[in-house]
């Protein structure tokens, strides 16, 4: 395990998490949530949890984002906060 990667990736995870809940556009929020999931998957791959990272790459960054986009498509894209 390379601890420098661990620190950098986890910092980026926190930043993208804050960004995805503070952006007003819901489509942008779902795309940022996909980026958050993918960074989280990188962090787990660095920590040696290869199976968990693989699952998160296919589920979190793939299917979750599609579900969010589908729900935003069926509802509205604007958010007040």
């Amino acid at each position: 395990m390379i601890w420098q990667f661990d620190l950098i990736i986890l910092t980026l995870v926190v930043i993208s998490g804050i960004a995805s809940i503070s952006i007003r556009d819901l489509l942008g929020a779902s795309v940022l949530f996909g980026a958050y999931s993918f960074l989280m998957c990188l962090a787990w791959a660095v920590m040696g949890a290869v199976d968990v990272a693989f699952t998160e790459a296919s589920v979190g960054a793939g299917v979750c984002t599609v579900f969010f986009v589908a729900a935003v498509f069926r509802t509205s894209r604007r958010s007040k906060d």
């Binding site: 395990m1 601890w3 661990d6 620190l7 986890l10 910092t11 995870v13 926190v14 998490g17 804050i18 995805s20 809940i21 819901l26 929020a29 779902s30 949530f33 958050y36 999931s37 989280m40 962090a43 787990w44 920590m47 040696g48 949890a49 290869v50 199976d51 968990v52 699952t55 998160e56 589920v59 979190g60 299917v63 979750c64 579900f67 969010f68 589908a70 729900a71 935003v72 069926r74 509802t75 509205s76 958010s79 007040k80 906060d81």
Partner: protein, 134 residues
């Protein structure tokens, strides 16, 4: 200075877990939009998963797949491999989280069909006027 870096490495994952839990909880409590609340719920879930994966890590250990050299001839040391048990628990938790995310989004779509808005305060306002008019 080296001691500080040691403390940082030993604690940084837990701090990030706490940070992400606070972000998720804040999004669930303070945001009005239902989709934002669902994103906060997912962030909270991944924070718990990150905590479990962090406690499974061992220094100088390999990924939990035993190499082909081992056919029962050599002894296998537990310290050489990451702890597989939290990985198993979290693997199923991720797939269940996507299924529950689908149900949550279905509820949000249903609420939008009935009230024509995703904002929680507007939905409560509509329900109040409906209740008063009865």
């Amino acid at each position: 200075m080296p001691e500080l870096i040691d403390i940082l490495i030993a604690r940084y994952n837990y701090w990030v877990v706490i940070c992400l839990m606070m972000i998720g909880l804040y999004a669930m409590m303070a945001k009005n939009n239902l989709i934002k609340k669902i994103i906060g719920m997912s962030i909270f879930q991944t924070a718990v998963i990150l905590f479990y994966v962090s406690i499974a890590t061992k220094h100088d250990a390999s990924i939990p797949i035993i190499g082909h050299g081992h056919n029962g001839h050599h002894a296998i040391h537990a310290a050489d491999y990451m702890n597989p048990l939290p990985h198993v628990l979290m693997l199923t938790a991720i797939v269940v989280s996507v299924a529950t995310l689908g149900v949550a989004l279905a509820l949000a779509v249903k609420a939008y069909q009935q009230h024509d808005t995703l904002e929680e305060d507007e939905i409560i306002e509509q329900l109040k006027t409906e209740y008063l008019s009865q």
